[in-house]
Amino acid sequence: MEQRMRSYGALAISNPSDLVFGRAPSPVSCGFDLTIGAGQVYPEVNFTLPAITVSAENWSEIVTQYTEMVTGIIRRAVALRAPGIVLEFELLPAMTECPEWGAEVTALLHRALREAHEKHGLRCALRVTPTDIREHGKPPLLRYGQGCEQLLRSFDLCAQAGADILSIESIGGKEVHDQALLYGDVPGIVFALGILAPRDMAWLWDQITGICARHPGVVPGGDTACAFANTAMQLAHQRMLPEVLAAVVRAMCAVRSLVAFEHGAMGPSKDCAYEGPILKAITGCPISMEGRSATCAHFSPMGNVASAMCDLWSNESVQNIRLLSGSAPEAYTESLIYDCRLMNVAAQQGGALMLRDWLTASDQWLSPQAALLSPEATLEIAAVIVERKSHYERTLGAAQAALSILRGGLSGGAMLIPAKERQWMDRIEQELSGLPGDEKTLRRQVQERYAGIFDPASYGLCESA
């Protein structure tokens, strides 16, 4: 598997005017006649169950629910003449623990898409995302144990059952990150994101690309820093953490999400990875993003700018409940399609960059998290990452680049943030500059504080520590 290892020492996209929605240097073809990143933005619809237990007794009801959802989504795509669509099936934990269940739903969705393609010519593909259930233990065991086995088996069975793209929201390093984040412990955060997470990602993505290699046509999509940066984003959203901390965490996370690509991922990256544009700039692979039409799943301070560079445009997740119009999955499919229509028409009429810039300007300085999502900020962070070698150095560099972008916004007067947030910026900056230059020293400094919380063997850290 080692031959798949890629290393990114330069940007795939270095000119800001090439970093735009709908176009990626390395498009991905998959599913039924769909090519992602070759000029059009397509909707990616993700949908989930309402309040119902996933169990054997309920299984027929669950199958009915998924059938209803996919029927509604396809009906809308056909009615609105969508030029293409991706469906994402995010397994629920019980469906990964029992991989047959996940595979059964995958097969059902695959059949529905095939039929839509045959009957209506709808170009489409199915992304399948098993749950990273390795976190069950305390500390979580990542490379062995039951959770790990079930997870890998789930990938395998879903690939066989008709998945076109495999993804995951992996959690290596999260056990440490959760606690570090809540206590605002910057060295702990860097340890989790710059040392632990990349080690797990490397191992895990070798497994996933290996599975894809055994199932021709199945694309290893990408990962997301959901467990890290989206947790921080949610906490900032609830005013539990400073927005500036969430923003800096996001930038750092790009390094660990990039590891998927180093180990064979080809995109589209996961929708909830707001670090996606950085990945696109570095790898040239297409990305999925979510924002103003993911209000079903979470609120966001960057609803518009999130779409500025996307290749798929997602709703993140919506429950199968009834709205006045029809089912919520169908409703959010419609919203995504209209967003894509606008982007595609603008692109077709030569206005992609203009629309991208409006989307950016409309959010950019209203929140620190949005400020990091502009094409310029993206390239700045991406450039720092490719300049550096180790994951640890890259993580530090990304954090510093993020802070300097925020400083720029503040000093130019474009961005207004409360005094409390500014204090945190100072604090983060100070702590970062106090970190050692080499990773071993940091490990020694924090290891004790997090002893027992993580399993060194799960990160290949036993021998070398």
């Binding site: 119902i52 237990t53 629920l92 959760d178 206590y183 609830q238 953490l241 409390k420 945190w424």
Partner: protein
């Protein structure tokens, strides 16, 4: 003599070391432990809670304060127990079965601890039987259930039913919360309270304990 105002300030700034030191000194000087709690510690945590709600404090400040409070309380509790005096309330908390989301639950637990409650945290993915056991063993009077997945919300109902079956439902009040949970859902499953935030959970817990 121990400078007790320092205890208040140490808790507010999350300085566990100082908080513990001042407490130890005060106890050595035979200051009434209840006075320490009532006049310095609880007011400090209330102030922290207020700053948090006014968005002056974030969670890190809050948790550090709670940790300092906890440090002091650990010295005081044995004395209270010995004198037969009860803490404000005893809470069993956990994320329900099938669900691993625990951040929200952790924050609620820490804030309850900061609010002077005795908290038994069962972690995440907690089966109904484990809640029953914990109540039986601990004599808790409050149970807090958290769920973040729509598909684990039904576990809240199952847990409440298990409490009934085990005959402990009457001994405790049940609070539920987590992003997908609603006031209506809480009512439907027969919970005693719901709140959409951690500070709200503390207020509610206090009201309920006061009414017992």
């Amino acid at each position: 003599m121990a400078e007790l105002q320092k205890l208040h300030d140490a808790i507010m700034s999350g300085d566990t070391k100082t908080a513990v030191a001042v407490t130890r000194e005060a106890l050595a000087e035979n200051v009434d432990p209840m006075e320490l709690i009532r006049q310095y510690m609880i007011p400090a945590m209330d102030e922290v809670g207020r700053l948090f709600q006014c968005e002056e404090y974030f969670v890190p400040e809050l948790l550090l304060a709670a940790r300092a409070m906890k440090g002091s309380l650990e010295l005081i509790r044995p004395l209270l127990a010995a004198s037969g005096r009860q803490p404000t309330g005893r809470v069993v908390i956990g994320t329900v079965k099938g669900d691993l989301h625990d951040i929200g639950k952790n924050i609620v637990a820490s804030m309850l601890e900061g609010g002077g409650f005795d908290v038994i945290d069962l972690g995440a993915d907690v089966a109904p039987e484990r809640f029953v056991e914990a109540i039986q063993r601990s004599n808790a009077n409050l149970v807090c259930l958290s769920a973040l997945l729509t598909v684990t919300m039904p576990s809240m109902r199952t847990t409440i039913e298990a409490l009934k079956q085990a005959g402990v439902r009457e001994r405790v009040k049940v609070l539920v919360g987590g992003a997908p949970v609603t006031r209506q859902f809480a009512q439907q499953i027969g919970a005693d309270g719901y709140s959409e935030s951690a500070p709200g959970a503390v207020t509610l817990a206090r009201q309920i304990i006061a009414a017992l």
